[in-house]
């Protein structure tokens, strides 16, 4: 009987021991899962904060760029037109009144166009391809270099405003970089819609640079971090004296 009790005790103890091992395993899995959840949520929160920061920066920079453009336009374009109008109207000949009216109408048009670009919602309401046309027009009008915009696929707007803002800022940065550093004779932008995928290629025939050395002034790291914020990809192809090609792709 005593040996029977020992056998029973062993069976019982082994069963309970196994049960505890399994319970321990379950508790460990719950804890690990919970810990991973907490870590993942923390990571998502950090990413969200980073994204919001990027959006804020982008908005600020676009505003600054716009103000700079407006100031330049006021000084170089509207200021000049007003001075010209003043000179024309100072002329006592009757034909100069007509000429003056024409100039004032032109000034009104320019002011309207400028006020549109200052409007906070203007960028958000603007179609992305229209923005590209405007930006290239600005570059060409400044007489800096020739520009060209080409498109492939069905044109559609970017529904996510934040993505559009970041893309707009990326294009502005690329164009600024080309103007400041590359001295190109032409800049081409190719826009490609392939389903939900938007591809954008900015090419210039400027001085180029060695992509391995990554000069900090070019803000390439900035481009990379911004495209990362909208889950996009960027590839920069460049060689000294062979121009630069920047390819971006993003799901819109």
């Amino acid at each position: 009987m005593e040996s029977n009790s020992i056998e029973l005790f062993i069976v019982l103890l082994s069963g309970i021991f196994l049960m505890f091992i399994m319970s321990g395993f379950i508790v460990a899995m719950v804890l690990i899962h919970r810990q991973r959840q907490v870590k993942s949520r923390h990571r998502v929160e950090l990413m969200k904060a980073d994204y919001e920061k990027t959006i804020l920066n982008v908005e600020k920079e676009i505003r600054e760029e716009t103000l700079q453009y407006v100031s330049q336009e006021l000084h170089d374009n509207i200021g000049q037109l007003l001075s010209l109008t003043k000179l024309v109207l100072n002329n006592p000949e009757p034909s100069s009144v007509f000429e003056g009216k024409k100039l004032i109408n032109q000034i009104i048009k320019e002011v309207r166009s400028l006020s549109k670009s200052i409007n906070r919602d203007y960028i958000k309401d603007l179609k992305f391809e229209d923005f590209l046309k405007d930006e290239l027009d600005k570059v060409e009008r400044s007489g800096f270099c020739k520009t060209e915009l080409t498109q492939k696929g069905t044109v559609m707007d970017i529904p996510d405003e934040n993505k559009k803002l970041i893309l707009i800022r990326l294009v502005q940065e690329c164009l600024n970089n080309a103007i400041k550093h590359a001295s190109p004779t032409w800049i081409k932008i190719h826009l490609e819609h392939d389903g939900p995928n938007l591809g954008l290629t900015i090419t210039d025939d400027g001085v180029g640079f060695d992509t391995n050395t990554h000069p900090k002034g070019l803000g390439l790291i900035n481009l990379q971090s911004r495209i990362n914020a909208i889950n996009g990809n960027i590839y920069i192809l460049s060689e000294p004296q062979k121009g630069t090609q920047i390819k971006m792709s993003v799901m819109v």
């Binding site: 009987m1 029977n4 009790s5 056998e7 029973l8 069976v11 019982l12 082994s14 069963g15 309970i16 196994l18 049960m19 091992i21 399994m22 319970s23 395993f25 379950i26 899995m29 719950v30 690990i32 899962h33 919970r34 991973r36 959840q37 993942s40």
Partner: protein, 224 residues
């Protein structure tokens, strides 16, 4: 735990499952897997009732447990584990194992252990080890593959079900394995072991019956 309390716990689990199917399942989330679990508890309730009836009328009930518990319930559980494991590899392994288990069951019944008179404890060893393995794989897979990442684990019915299967089969398989030896023991001692086993089994059926309420209980209270 006495047989009547054990039966009561099975019926409690069954009632929980039926209520869920009739009332909540309609508006919440229709799940075939939940119906499988409900069918399993119903099946257990039926064969346990029949086994108790046979025992009370002084007849052998080993073949009932052999067929219903060692084989049919195992196949139902393997079916459940097949449905919840989404990995192709695991599913295929479960399918292969089920086939092997079926062949083994037939061979065992015909040539090794008489299905009417002997406990099929070799088959049970295979069944319990496989169920334990597939449950471990499922629970481990949740963590490894970051499944159910938006919910706490305790709001997932399959987590509760597999956890209870783990606990039942880990504690029970030694008991069922040694059934032949236990009959030689003092009936009082065997009763203690049986009580403990029935307690774990009863808890498992209650959990199986009520596990589908957990998303309703936990997801909003502790979800995020």
């Amino acid at each position: 735990m006495s047989s009547s309390v054990y039966l009561l716990s099975i019926f409690l689990g069954l009632a929980g499952g039926i209520c869920y199917t009739l009332k909540i399942n309609k508006s919440y989330k229709k799940s075939k897997i939940q119906l499988l679990i409900l069918g399993l508890i119903l099946f257990v309730a039926c064969f346990e009732l029949y086994a108790i009836y046979l025992a009370k009328s002084g007849r052998h009930n080993r073949f009932v447990y052999n067929i219903c518990f060692f084989y049919l319930e195992t196949f139902l559980l393997l079916g459940y584990l097949y449905a919840i494991n989404l990995s192709k590899k695991v599913r295929l392994t479960i399918l292969y194992f089920s086939l092997i288990y079926l062949i083994w069951g037939i061979t065992n019944s015909l040539f090794i252990q008489d299905i009417w008179l002997t406990w099929h404890n070799y088959s049970y060893l295979m069944a319990s080890l496989s169920i334990l393995t597939f449950c471990l794989v499922f629970i481990f897979g949740i963590t490894k593959n970051n499944k159910y990442f938006e919910q706490p684990l305790w709001s997932i019915p399959h987590f509760w079900n597999t956890s209870m299967l783990l606990i039942f089969y880990s504690s029970g398989f030694l008991y069922f394995l040694s059934l032949d030896f236990l009959t030689e023991l003092d009936p009082k001692l065997v009763d203690i072991l049986g009580s403990f086993n029935r307690f774990v089994a009863g808890t498992m059926y209650i959990v199986l019956g009520f596990s589908y309420y957990t998303p309703l209980i936990f997801s909003t209270a502790h979800g995020k």
